[in-house]
Symmetry: C2
Subunit: 414 residues, 2 copies
């Protein structure tokens, strides 16, 4: 029996909800922002700071940890949480997205070969992308799985649904994901449908592989729905994955604005076709407006690299919108990054009585000092964990829509 | 009246001592390791961590802060301590070393021109170092000061003793240094003598410039003695600088082992020619064996980039010697970096109950994660602050020589 379960405390009329995910390593109060710890570390943030940043859980990456240090080392350490010195719930994603994006299938036109038709060696020749070929990067999808080259050394590897589950069992996170094919949102209908159907077959195999070891492991497995921007495919995928008996549901796809404003909206429509009370995770959803939109539909957890990626380039979340701290206007601005913020960067430190000013952080970015991305990432993470805390509070107080309106009015400066 | 003074609590027969430096921003118990915060930040370490790492004070750099963000910004912030969000004593060095090293005079054969003989533009042509010239780097020394190009953008700047003091007054550290010429240790006797005598004239001018503003400022000024590896010059320099009325003495020169084992020893001989009770700072002294040697002669404070520079490349101090954590032998080593260490990296975190293992830090270095240099630098800094704490304890307990022997036996593996 898994000790994993999801308790919904309150729902909005539109479907938003506040709840608690009970996991073997602790509870996650939802909605919750999940820190991205790709290689078992959030870039620029120590696990000893997670609690003070309001992080309840993190998501690590199967593809990256498989390549380095290898899942056996993580298993020997006692699982990904203990490996990274974090006492709390963890997630791992399946590696599907990374296999396709770092193996350069994602964002390119993937050539699909039946494994019996062509060997991986021949495929390199057949692959019609000069840049990818010159970099030795390639992902070859067949019915059974994906053959790909490491982004580190070009060596050849293969993931199948069963292998992904095997690795994720060793990584030992509380929640992990079925192996899926993540398509480019702009791919045509026919390809989206084909990839979605393959993802469904892989989901079944992932679940079967997990259940073989179910008794021995207290891990929950989420299935991932796909379908690109096509409403009928999204519905079909939600019904299919929702009906398989997964512990939760992952909203698959890429919701970057470069694919159009509607890419997230189309995925969110899936939620009405899922079984009641199934927890939902928004993969790669992290813009404040997207978290609000997702939460309004009933997405319970969100992960995204945005706070740390922005943090490394000096993009700072504030309640009045994003600022670029390296801009000249902040050179002698001795205020905090965000006057509304309660993070360790913006509030007076108990030992100093003061806080890190915009002027100082501007200087750190200008001089390329390591403390710059550290402080900016910490602030940005807290911005998103606080946002989900506020959403939760608003839902519990029957106040979500007003909170959403007020927040967006200030955030978008309208 | 300055609130700065130095109280010696106990001396060893050989001249080592335990004491307290009283400064306007707090006390420094000596011997003490001083963190290097060149650009008002210790690389990879937040000022909110200084206390837990045992740091009592840091040293920032005049050259770097003058170039960015500019001393006026730091002054407007309330001085370097407040600028970097640190509530405690601070030091600034004069920028002399950086003008010469980053302006590429240091380690090269410096062409010295009388300022009336040659314009900076012509000097570039005259300067006999192809690499330096192609990089547009140059430092030109004349009796009045140094003209140098910024390592950032090649722009032309000029430091004189008076200008260095003016900048350091604005930076507002508790202790700052007179502007000096830092020579290459291997430079010939004639040049060492000439540079030393110029440094003495600059020291007098620095002190005079400081005294013009003395009443208004509670800053202590240290003079720097030079003389390379020549005992007679070192003695002459100690007597000259020691007799000028400085608040303290800086041991100048470079003590890197590449200049021979004796470079530090020769400088330490200066201490017997200084006025009784004058506090002494070892500039750039940070190897554990050098700190022990320096402390045995009566050096009170030490600063060095070693803990963070090593930290960034995976060099880890342990009581049994240095280890390179990226080496394969540590891949599945689940022990702490140093079993004898009490730092935040090596001891169980209150929230996790565990510590950061060698295996995890090995993985972080292998995958080039930012947390790697952060954890390694924190550990290395604590290694050196603990070493100075132990030295202090040993001196107070009449036990210094035994401590030194025991430490070095273990550290050098003999």
């Amino acid at each position: 029996m898994s000790t994993f379960n999801f308790e919904i405390e309150k729902k909005t009329k539109a479907g938003g909800r506040a709840g608690v995910l009970h996991t073997p390593h602790g509870d996650i109060k939802t909605p919750a922002f999940v820190g991205v710890a790709t290689k078992a570390t959030i870039k620029g943030v120590s696990s000893s700071q997670f609690k003070e940043l309001g992080l309840q859980t993190i998501i690590a990456n199967t593809y990256h940890l498989y390549l380095s240090p290898g899942e056996s080392i993580v298993e020997e350490a006692g699982g990904v949480a203990k490996f990274m010195n974090w006492k709390g719930p963890t997630m791992t994603d399946s590696g599907g997205f990374q296999v396709f994006s770092l193996g350069t299938a994602f964002g390119k036109k993937v050539s699909k070969f039946q494994s019996e038709d062509v060997s991986p060696e021949e495929a390199t020749v057949l692959y019609n992308d000069e840049l990818a070929t010159s970099h030795g990067k390639l992902a070859i999808i067949d019915e059974d799985g994906v053959t790909f080259t490491s982004h580190l050394d070009g060596s050849l590897h293969r993931f199948t649904p069963e292998r992904s589950v095997e690795i994720q069992h060793k990584l030992g996170a509380d929640i992990f994901f079925a192996f899926d094919e993540c398509t480019e949102p702009t791919a045509p209908y026919e390809y989206q449908k084909e990839a979605m159907e393959r993802t469904h077959r892989w989901a079944k195999r992932s679940l079967a592989a997990h259940r073989q070891n179910f008794e021995a492991r207290e891990q929950a497995i989420y299935g991932i729905g796909q379908g690109g921007q096509f409403d009928d495919l999204r519905e079909e995928s939600a019904r299919a994955i929702g009906g398989m008996g997964f512990d939760g549901f992952g909203l698959g796809g890429s919701f970057s604005k470069k694919y159009g404003e509607n890419s997230l909206q189309s995925a969110l429509n899936m939620l009405k076709f899922l079984p009641d009370g199934m927890p939902v995770h928004g993969l790669g959803v992290g813009e404040p407006e997207d978290i609000l939109l997702g939460a309004s539909f009933g997405v319970d957890t969100f992960d995204c690299v945005i706070p740390t990626r922005n943090g490394r380039t000096g993009g700072i979340f504030t309640n009045s919108g994003k600022i670029i701290i390296e801009n000249a206007e902040f050179k002698s601005d001795f205020g905090p990054l965000d006057p509304d913020c309660d993070c360790v960067v913006c509030t007076p430190n108990p030992t100093t009585g003061v806080f890190f000013t915009r002027s100082y952080i501007h200087h750190l970015f200008r001089t390329r000092e390591m403390l710059a991305p550290m402080l900016a990432s910490q602030h940005n993470i807290r911005f998103l964990t606080r946002l989900t805390e506020q959403i939760r509070e608003a839902i519990l107080n029957d106040n979500f829509e007003k909170f959403q309106d007020d927040f967006l009015k200030k955030y978008k400066g309208k």
